[in-house]
């Protein structure tokens, strides 16, 4: 969406080494910083990373395809339950569990896509909500698989790659999650610039025109939903692996709504917006909502209104354009 970010994408392809390397280094440094700043709160940072995947997955369908959905957490939750059950059934290798989450997420994503991508506007929104709520009701009912309202507990994965045990301080969980996030993010950076990513952005602009250049819009959107589902599934898998519990909150409407809020505040349609938005949002939430959850709701509501009115593209693209305007005056490179 943002001119600058889009341009950044294009410029990078001419650099001697790809910008993905920059992203990799930046994220690794930020991760290290998180490790040093919050050494006693690694569990929180790890949970945060799980949600970052959910926001990134929503960006793929909402930011890149223009599908307004309030049911994304269903995909995340289904994957988390699948991983939990796989682990309880004896599949304890974390990497294999990630695979389980990805597949479960992709399948659930495709199913959501079939229902949600068929229409636009209100029916689309309502179908996305209904799918989410249906999954939530089922999660509550099928307590033999989900643990019902008590949650699915006792998930204890084995060591990563057979070497690194999950420790009490959450160091392994944090590093494992961070590494997966960096890898997935770098892949996604390339993915959204691909011909398929470009087609999705075109569909978002004008889906009839996309048909008029020969694109099969509905199947493409379902496919994007599947990919988005795989990303959400990784998030669900990491959450299940790291916390050892999967609760009904993973499939809740509130989770879906909060994901959309994070995405839009950060900046839908750019991966950096989704990433930075969801990280900053959650750190902010962690402190404010710990102090008073209802003040947090008021602040969040006001923040949303302000963003919608004054920074409809989100805060990250806004920050980028502000920096763009100020940087030349400071003599920085433009």
């Amino acid at each position: 969406m943002s001119d600058r970010l889009a341009m950044e994408d294009r410029r990078s392809s001419r650099l001697p080494f790809p910008a993905e390397l920059g992203a990799l280094v930046a994220m690794a440094l930020a991760g290290l910083l998180g490790y040093l700043v919050f050494p006693d709160d690694l569990a929180f940072l790890t949970r945060l990373i799980g949600i970052v995947f959910l926001v990134l997955s929503l960006d793929l369908v909402t930011g890149y395809c223009g599908i307004a959905t309030l049911g994304q957490s269903a995909i995340f939750g289904v994957a988390a339950y699948a991983v939990g059950n796989a682990c309880l059934a004896g599949l304890v290798d974390p990497v294999a569990l990630l695979g389980v989450g990805m597949v479960a997420g992709a399948v659930m994503g495709l199913a959501s896509g079939v229902l949600v991508a068929k229409f636009q506007g209100l029916p689309q929104l309502v179908l996305s909500i209904a799918v989410g709520q249906l999954v939530a009701a089922m999660a509550n009912k099928l307590s033999s698989v989900t643990g019902g309202s008590d949650g699915l507990a006792g998930i204890s994965p084995g060591p990563v790659l057979g070497i690194f045990n999950f420790d009490l301080y959450g160091r392994t969980g944090y590093v494992f999650s961070l590494v997966v996030l960096v890898i997935v993010f770098v892949i996604l950076l390339r993915f959204v610039r691909s011909p398929f990513g470009l087609l999705c952005r075109a569909i978002k602009d004008d889906s009839l025109r996309a048909r008029m250049i020969g694109a099969r819009v509905y199947p493409r959107l379902i496919l994007m939903y599947g990919i988005s589902g795989a990303v959400a599934g990784i998030g669900g898998a990491l959450t299940a692996i790291n916390t050892g519990v999967v609760g009904l909150d993973s499939v809740s409407f509130e989770r879906s709504a909060e994901t959309l809020v994070m995405l839009v505040i950060g900046g839908a349609g750019t991966l950096w917006g989704a990433l930075i938005g969801s990280v900053v949002f959650q750190i902010f939430e962690h402190y404010v909502s710990a102090a008073n959850p209802f003040h947090w709701m008021t602040i969040l509501g006001l923040m949303l209104i302000v963003v919608v009115l004054f920074a409809p593209r989100g805060l990250v693209p806004l920050a980028v354009s502000v920096v763009d305007r100020i940087a030349p005056r400071l003599g920085g490179k433009s």
Partner: protein, 255 residues
Amino acid sequence: MTAPLLELRDVCKSFGGIRVNDGVSFVVREGDRIALIGPNGAGKTTLVNVISGGLDVSQGSILLGGHDITDFSIPQRVDAGLIRTFQITRLFTNLTVAENVALAVMQKKGITRKFFSSWIDRPNIRDQWMQILGLLGIAHLAAARVSQLAYGQQRLLDLALGLALEPKVLILDEPAAGVPSDESGRIIEAIDRLPPKIAVMMIEHDMDLVFKFAKRVLVLANGRLIFEGDPSAVTHDSEVRRAYLGTYADGRHTS
């Protein structure tokens, strides 16, 4: 002689009880330059929508290269080489000019299912979209966003999208309408320079442009084809005169 590129056989289209196209039949051959004209409300735009697949026919059939495409979806017709542009430009406004055309190029090549890394600057893709933009004289705008373009430039880009899809039949819906006269010259020039093999059918009101462009003229009035023939003969045809003047006499404007 081989089968004509595009053939309409007795095509009818009704909305409710009103016949907007009534038994329209004609053929389009390789390299044709056809103008489709007619008074307001004659059903020209409906006919274009029926041909391009935006509307279903009520009766009759449409053939492309001898194959019946009446039941084809919009994308299937595009794949088969039947391309249209729009009276009111529809472009991907949040993409750049280059991205718009490159997307069409890649769609035609079937590589929009590639999931990894940008293809826009790969030599074989880049050459194609650069060449098309060059042909239309808008190569210098490649990096611009569509929303930054002047209206005439947007019409050229619409045409560029059509060309990128390697049309066999290209239907231009009033390509110069609403464009300031200093820019419309560029569009007419671009249409002149279209590859000669492509069959081009243009809907147009501007008779100067029609005479300049068309080798054959089709006249649609009240949904029926009332004239088909040489541009020089059209103004002398009594039925055409009646159709144009008659609608004004009765004041039966339907659009």
